[in-house]
């Protein structure tokens, strides 16, 4: 009962905070400055990890498919086809966003949590600045803008990783290319983009809520950071089920 009450209280406070955060900025000039900074900090700084993970996962998926469904009855192009579908439909959108929930979510929660306990957020409030709007809106907008780009990079990197397995002699490049082109449905790419935008909102808003509402000291900031990652990940998985059902 207490847990249910806590969850409802949290939901109410989250909605209230989002109400304050998602209002028109006090100064568009300041908002755009913050927006560009957040895109750089949250997105640009994540490109490296996205490319590396996607490259190796693309390669491993390709090798696993090859090893596990190898049969005289199965055409070789199935390896490329399956790798493409996995990367487009699930890995680059959902799993990559789960990984980014860890990196970006903890970053946002700990940044805002530290600002809260060092009274920097109080300082903004005293100045008459809508601190939720000034701090949270650029993070949400920035991540929602950059996430589809990261997903696109992830798909591309995964496909390159799959191509590179041909150097190991498992499949030929020609077979992979045939598989990658086979029955390509462009809508699947857009599904990934739509999912990424939704997940970006979940990661940025939930992590901001956890960080912004911290009370206490460094231990609580650490806890908020962990809670932000766990809650974002759970919500992404929930959303994945619904979005997959709705979009495909």
């Amino acid at each position: 009962m207490l847990t249910l009450k806590g969850a409802l209280t949290d939901t109410g406070r989250y909605v209230q905070l989002m109400g304050r955060a998602l209002s028109a900025p006090d100064r568009m000039r300041m908002f755009f400055q913050q927006y560009v900074t957040e895109m750089y900090q949250l997105g640009y700084n994540s490109i490296g990890i996205v490319l590396i993970i996607s490259f190796f996962i693309g390669a491993v998926i390709c090798l696993q498919i090859k090893l596990n469904i190898q049969s005289p009855w199965m055409p070789q192009m199935v390896v490329g086809y399956t790798t493409r579908e996995i990367m487009l439909l699930e890995f680059s959108s959902s799993i990559m966003c789960l990984i980014l929930a860890g990196k970006v979510g903890s970053n946002i929660a700990s940044e805002l949590g530290t600002m809260r306990i060092t009274q920097q957020i109080d300082a903004l409030d005293i100045m008459g600045v809508n601190s939720a709007n000034y701090l949270i809106l650029p993070k949400i907008a920035g991540l929602m803008t950059i996430m589809p780009i990261l997903v696109t990079f992830s798909v591309a990197s995964g496909i390159i990783g799959a191509f590179c397995t041909s150097f190991l002699g498992t499949t030929t490049i020609d077979e992979l290319i045939v598989g990658f082109h086979y029955e390509f449905n462009q809508w699947f790419f857009w599904c990934g983009i739509i999912k990424a935008v939704v997940y970006a909102f979940i990661i940025a808003s939930v992590s901001s809520y956890k960080g912004y509402t911290v009370e206490g000291g460094s231990v609580e900031v650490g806890k908020a950071s962990t809670d932000a990652v766990v809650l974002s990940s759970i919500l992404i998985l929930f959303a994945d089920v619904f979005l997959t059902q709705i979009l495909t």
Partner: protein
């Protein structure tokens, strides 16, 4: 002028402020003093709106802050400047950007004028030429001075200082006190300083209220405080050996 009447605040049924009545005058440094845990910080947080009182009124030159709408409170807050105990500088910004922040948010001046105003404020707190540094590169006293520069950038009507000397050596504390007093007199603003530093009390306490267990137990000035007969206030002031000796000398002379 800020006038408080019958202010009450409690947390989980525990009364922290009980029927606070006080007037903070314009053009003077008004001190709120008291032991740790007496309710000073809670009172200041209520005055600036970081907490909402259960009962009572907080009147800013005829405008009741408690009954204001959110929008009206935001507009009034633009007339306030605050110096926090920890300075609360934005650590991702340079010193100049910190001081320029309120100007960037609320001033319609062009960029060059905003920079000029921020540099004037830094010069006023004797930190000219430090604009490109970041808060982590400054000492505690310098951070407090940057916080003062940021607080006065928009020429506020009300200045609030929450334990501005906390963590500073006595010499730097005097510099900060003198800055606060000088700025208050120059700008003719209402300044409220929350402190338990007796050097500040004796140095800049033009108007003082003493809070004990959530109640105002005494009010007066630094010239009257040594003769105060309130036992709690005497306990608080003369906890220091030096002040006790000063008092004894003062009494002998009298």
């Amino acid at each position: 002028m800020i006038h408080i009447e019958h202010l009450y605040k409690s947390f989980d049924g525990r009364d922290v402020l009980k029927d606070i009545n006080a007037t903070f005058e314009n053009g003077k440094v008004n001190l709120i003093i008291g032991q740790s845990g007496s309710g000073k910080t809670v009172l200041m947080k209520n005055i600036v709106g970081l907490l909402t009182p259960e009962r009572g009124s907080i009147d800013y030159d005829g405008r009741d802050f408690v009954s204001m709408t959110k929008r009206e409170k935001i507009l009034l807050r633009r007339e306030m400047g605050m110096i926090f105990q920890s300075a609360a500088l934005f650590d991702s910004m340079s010193v100049l950007d910190n001081v320029m922040f309120p100007l960037n948010m609320f001033s319609d001046k062009c960029y060059a004028d905003r920079v000029k105003r921020a540099e004037e404020c830094l010069a006023r707190v004797n930190l000219a030429g430090t604009g490109t540094k970041f808060p982590k590169e400054l000492s505690g006293g310098m951070q407090k001075r940057v916080a003062i520069a940021r607080a006065i950038a928009l020429e506020p009507k009300y200045l609030f200082c929450d334990e501005p000397n906390s963590g500073l050596d006595p010499k730097t504390s005097i510099v900060i006190d003198e800055l606060i007093q000088g700025i208050t007199h120059e700008m003719g603003i209402t300044t409220i300083v929350n402190t338990h530093d007796m050097n500040s009390v004796m140095g800049i306490g033009e108007s003082i209220i003493f809070i004990c267990k959530g109640r105002v137990e005494w009010h007066g000035s630094n010239t009257e405080i040594m003769d105060a007969t309130n036992p709690q206030l005497q306990d608080f002031i003369f906890a220091s050996d030096i002040l006790r000796q000063v008092k004894e000398a003062h009494d002998r002379e009298a």
